[in-house]
Symmetry: C2
């Protein structure tokens, strides 16, 4: 059986796989700092050559920023479908503050812990060099043992993920035909815990709004005008206070239209996790769920939309006291959206509510801060079931279908620009310290991650 | 008749009176700027000598800041009672920005306008050198023509009014017996309009509170925690929104306890003014009263208490957008109080309301920013009636009994420290540009102001 051979090969080749990972970790491809531009280019070259060494037709593709790497498998395949697009990124976060690192960030090492477990250290070990190589190394083993891949594969690596992906949209637009495949595989997520694999199937979208309430044409003295003159902080706080009802639900008309709950087996699995509010909120000093009554912790952060106030400012809020009636007050409001909600309709409903709530003499000014829909895989999609079974097989424990409360922008781009769903599988752990000093990736994540992808590719 | 003689003398002596005013305007007694300390001392000396030249026993009294001037009339009087304490201040505001002045601020001049009316220019011409000299010059004329004053008089001049009166409380405390008189006369207010004199009989007090709502022990990402974690801006806005009902009234229990409306003749006079919301609010770009329904413009700013939000801040409110759930949010809340309300009770009611409104996981931290009661003369006080009749006589038009929406701290000090009511009479006009470049004082204000005080002193 070809998969068994590939898995054996992965085990046997682990030291060489690690050596390759160390090679790319040694390249300080910090995308946000122009001083490292040549290193970023060097990392792109390394990634393309590495893919070419397996047999991919790999190219480094210039953009107005850092290059993209695109590699097509043009060799033999077992099945023509699906054609998958694997996404990862070869750039990394800055390393400041350097003095907090226990080892130099770009000199990777394999460290054995007291309990015998091992970890790979270095910037990018987890985010995302280690993660993306789990997929590439799986392809290497499959090709080495079978001479082919189970399905058609295109690898797409970005070099600007850690600096806001400024070139991504234009690149996808310009290369739509080449990159639009049946399914995207995205490896930028994590495990549920160190022994439980997970597939992230839902991401929340976001509508960001900034509203400024204007009243008088200047700041007023609260002695002279207090009582008689309209106070924009009072108008604003009343408007914001009206956005949630007593059950914690958002009051905007139509806000929940189009939302469907995940199927019972999925929510049953979540209930089985039994994550209590205390467990989830305790580490940040809270204990009680603040969202819709009757919804579990995981529903509140994964599959229910929110209305949050991210910022507010008005009048004098420095030291001491100033008896001012300000001319204006501002709030930043965001809505996390789930699948089924239309960002444009939510924005319009918010603006209509604010406008209708304005007393005479008050005026609202709006500014848009982004809008993206919530995303969710069809929970009954065969790809999801196959990936879940493959992960379950590898880890010896049922893989969880989970959600993510935030967004992963590239998944939105794939959906909106290329019409492509993403299956998000990753092997990161909560303690990987990505974006922080002493980033690491467990050797188990790397080794079993490679094995997991071999199984998933074979199963698709 | 002695008053008639004094009035004639005032008219005849106007040029000399003006020369004296010009002398003190020429001294740049800017109290807030240490560079002018010697000038402030010089102005105190000038004021004391000027009072001594009339026959007062005047002294310059050191403080830890700028000196006070205290002058007792120890000469003959017509009546032993009341003994009045006249308050004014000889210090002035800074003059920046100097380039906006049409004439040098400390070179006073008498300017004739196109319509023939005249004005005195210079920093302090209105606030408060011109105003306080109206009283002193009235005394001078009365003494010059009758050899005595109608009642006992003590003049008390401060040199730190424009820099927050840091020495006032201690000075009053240390000289309580010397300065506690039957009635204070305070000349730091204005006319209703250029032809209508006014006595300010009510001042609103102030309770200032700062409340910070704390939730999580750190800022959270709204993707990971949004929905589940309590948002302090949401808690704060809901609390603030609950402080007013739909009629614009403050909802704190007992908030309006102890308040009595002014007597009907007073409010009838206000109704007769017929100040519309548009007239009052139009100049600042508003048109509609925001306070308690059913209360007139003048009631809303003079005799009704308020609950205002002077500042609010929480989360990220700069450019762009940050998907943060902040750990805390802060508001500055003030209550303008009228006579009958107890600042301590209002503060306690506010804190109790906030505390009772807190959901689980939220904590409120309070900071006190001052508390002073509202003040009002008894509307039936004989002194008030006498002063009103005297002003009516001088201006040929009924003097209005008015209120002030803000506080005049010294009036609070007199009431609380010395147990003394204040009758506030002044001749300033709305266009005097006090605290701004091109401060002026109308010659009519000065001349008829002096005559008014002579009449008031004779009437008391």
């Amino acid at each position: 059986m070809s998969l068994a051979a590939a898995l054996s090969r992965i085990d046997a080749d682990l030291d060489a796989s690690l050596a390759r990972l160390f090679e790319i970790i040694r390249i300080p491809s910090i995308s946000t700092d122009p001083a490292y531009a040549a290193d970023v280019a060097r990392a792109a070259d390394w990634a393309a050559k590495d893919l070419a060494s397996i047999g991919f037709e790999a190219s480094v593709r210039p953009t107005t920023g850092h290059p993209m790497v695109v590699a097509h498998w043009t060799g033999p395949v077992e099945r023509d479908a699906p054609h998958v697009l694997f996404y990862g990124h070869y750039d990394v976060q800055p390393v400041d503050p350097l003095n907090l690192w226990e080892r130099p960030p770009f000199e990777p090492a394999l460290i054995t812990r007291a309990d015998g477990s091992k970890m790979i250290t270095g910037r990018g070990s987890a985010d995302d060099k280690g993660q993306y190589l789990t997929f590439v190394e799986a392809c290497r083993a499959l090709v080495a043992t079978t001479g082919k891949l189970p399905v058609r594969v295109t690898v797409f690596l970005e070099g600007e993920e850690e600096s806001g992906s400024p070139s991504l949209t234009a690149f996808l637009e310009a290369n739509k035909a080449e990159l639009s495949k049946d399914l995207a595989l995205v490896c930028d997520t994590g495990m549920w815990d160190p022994t439980t694999p997970a597939i992230t199937a839902t991401l929340r979208g976001l509508v960001g709004e900034e509203v400024t309430i204007h009243c008088a044409d200047r700041d007023l003295h609260s002695g002279s005008f207090g009582g008689a003159a309209l106070n924009p902080i009072r108008v604003l706080t009343k408007i914001l206070a009206g956005l949630h009802d007593d059950s914690g639900a958002c009051t905007l008309p139509g806000f929940y239209d189009g939302i469907t709950d995940p199927p019972k087996p999925v929510t049953d699995a979540w209930d089985a996790i039994g994550l209590t509010p205390e467990e989830f909120l305790g580490p940040v000093g809270l204990s009680t769920l603040a969202g819709e009554k009757g919804r579990s912790t995981l529903e509140q952060i994964w599959t229910r939309p929110t209305c949050e106030f991210n910022g507010i400012v008005g009048g004098y809020a420095g030291d001491g006291f100033k008896t001012v009636l300000p001319a204006k007050a501002l709030a930043k409001v965001s809505f996390r959206l789930v699948r089924g909600q239309d960002p444009a309709k939510i924005r319009a409903a918010f603006r209509a509510y604010v406008t209708q709530s304005l007393p005479k003499d008050a005026r609202a000014e709006f500014k848009e801060h982004g809008g993206s829909p919530g995303l969710a895989l069809a929970f009954d999609s065969p790809s999801l079931a196959k990936a879940r079974d493959a992960l379950t097989e590898e880890w010896g424990k049922p893989a969880l279908i989970i959600g993510a409360g935030g967004s992963i922008p590239v998944v939105g781009n794939f959906k909106q620009q290329l019409g492509m769903d993403s299956v998000m599988v990753g092997f990161g752990l909560d303690d990987d310290r990505i974006h922080s000093p002493n980033e690491k990736y467990d050797l188990t994540s790397y080794h079993k991650g490679i094995r997991s992808w071999a199984r998933i590719l074979a199963a698709l």
